[in-house]
Symmetry: C2
Subunit: 341 residues, 2 copies
DNA sequence: ATGAAAGCGCTAACAG
DNA sequence: CTGTTAGCGCTTTCAT
């Protein structure tokens, strides 16, 4: 009678039904407020269920209803700060709507990504959110997502070709423009650009924004000094920073906070005062920004908003299949002012 | 016949069976290499399955087998760098063994944690990994995990009372000792301590390590200068750092990299040379360490190893229920040397 | 207000 | 080698 009677196997509707002396259907109705059940009956059922420690089996429910009440998340990485923040936002939003999250990482390995994708369909996820911060995902994966007919939201990444899926991105070009505009408004007119490897979407997009801002202000962007480090981390970029400083810029816009930190170090080597002699702006508004000296002004991406929006769009699609149509959304960046500019 | 015949509903074993002209069981056997199936048959089945775009339904399989092939992860947070790194390691290891991950965050809200826990059992997860970096989890949750008879591994957190579950932790006291020992060996003998709020496990554990190291070296730890900031972030601790510097220490051991960054700033205010006049050591080996100037020596926690070990222990338990017994494992920290010490 | 019947898709155990 | 039978736990539709 008490919960301790049942050993290993977990309590089922039938167990409760037997205990109460009705059929499983009545128990089901009582528990889920479905059919009409007399108040007394409902009370007894609920009570017994509690006593027996009943836990409805979601696997069985999902199988029967065809809804897993779970979303798959396919992330290029989990440990990256940006990805983790987005994942956290996704989790939070999904939770609010009663959805669980199945998470897989692929580290840009297309094999692994496709495999994870198959697993998501095998588990009959209601939908999938793809987090691919660098947009380096192999085309095959994007195709995979599309053909597996799982409702998908891409984020960060804008899938190539015709858009049959939702897409939530950040306008990084706008972010870069915002930073450079700000420098220009501060009266700086010899602004340099520092980024990581050429060819990376991050580099190219932010460089475009940099050039657009200069051009809009009447400068010839092609003459603006620029350099490209091996990577975006603070371990890199110091020699490139020194190289840029040779041309005596009055500001440097960096495509990452790590590189901006390197610029600060290089500036100190040369006894330059930041921001008086040299303004520095980074990108990402990461934890580094508060740790450098001076603290770093940086472009902030609304990554949490991206996460939330992914979930919202996906759920909207699931709940309103008729009046849904694929849509690409671009969110804007903000400039977070600190000491370096 | 071709894959395009099937519209919405997904392909089942029965569909393939019908197509091939056998029973679902044969298809099942062929697909899973179970019963003996003639090579020719197996070939035809595999071929047809591929053609029809068959995706085995894991929900159904789990329901039938009683194994979800999935682990639940209950994290205090996802966006924290440490948590995200551990999560990534867990994901990686689980993936290797063919397990999926269902992830939920509770932000130390006991209500939410219990709810997430129920959801994990409702989904019949094979086991749960609890990531609770600050060990602030309410006792109720720990109890919940224990009573829900889901195999659980606690990490970071050592559950109160008798240990009925596995536990993988990091010996932070050892980490602190290691840092202070190092400073002592460098000839420093006026070492101060800076941390965040008192009462937090992080503060107290690292303080204990600090004092143990001093005592072991023949110093009276109670006289060592110490201060406690409002928080562990680089936004805090600067005034506390200045306060400590009044007593002219030759080294400061900080309970976080953020606070260590604040110390570096304070030191610069006073024209102290780091490490010549003042050595500084942080804790966590976070991204900040490479961004400060000078770069920060810091204590590194083997968080990825913790994640992997959680999965290994859990899977071992699942696969060898008989010769499993709860065990608490403590991993050691390393000191990562950079410029500040 | 309650129940009966059927099915979701897969698997396990044993029979032919 | 292949098929039969039964069941995992829940839901849905339709009777009563």
């Amino acid at each position: 009678m008490s919960s301790s009677t049942l050993e290993n196997r977990s309590v089922t509707l039938a167990d409760i039904a037997r205990e109460v002396g009705v059929t499983p259907i009545t128990v089901h109705n009582a528990l889920n407020g479905k059919g009409r059940v007399s108040p007394g009956m409902r009370e007894r059922v609920l009570e017994t269920a509690r006593e027996m420690g009943y836990q409805s089996n979601l696997l069985a429910r999902s199988l029967a209803t065809g809804r897993a009440m779970a979303l798959g998340v396919l992330a290029y990485r989990i440990e990256s700060n940006l990805a983790a923040r987005q994942l956290a936002a996704v989790e939070n939003e999904a939770q609010k709507h009663g959805y669980h999250l199945v998470v897989a990482a692929h580290n840009h390995d297309p094999q692994r990504a496709l495999e994870a994708l198959r697993e998501m369909t095998a588990r009959r996820m209601d939908g999938v959110i793809s987090i691919s911060s660098t947009a380096n995902m192999q085309p095959g994966v994007v195709e995979g997502l599309k053909t597996l007919q799982l409702p998908t939201v891409f984020s960060f990444h804008e899938p190539h070709g015709p858009r049959e899926s939702d897409c939530v991105t950040i306008d990084q070009q706008q972010g870069a423009r915002k930073a450079v505009d700000f420098l220009l408004r501060q009266g700086r007119n010899k602004i340099a650009f520092l980024s990581g490897p050429r060819g990376r979407l991050v580099t190219e997009t932010r460089l475009e924004g940099f050039e657009m801002a200069l051009r809009a202000a009447g400068f010839e962007p092609s003459t603006a000094p620029r350099a490209f480090a091996e990577d975006f981390s603070p371990r890199h970029g110091k020699s490139e920073a020194h190289q840029l400083l040779e041309s005596k810029p009055d500001a440097i816009f960096c495509a990452s906070d790590g590189l901006a930190a390197s610029v600060l170090r290089a500036a100190r080597d040369r006894w330059l005062r930041v921001p008086a002699d040299l303004m520095v702006i980074g990108f990402d508004d990461s934890l580094l920004c508060e740790a450098t000296d001076p603290t770093l002004t940086s472009v902030q991406m609304p990554i949490e908003e991206v996460g939330r929006e992914c979930v919202r769009r996906l759920l909207f699609r699931l709940e309103n299949p008729q009046d849904w149509s694929p849509q690409t959304q671009r969110l804007n960046c903000r400039l977070i002012r600190r000491e370096s500019a």
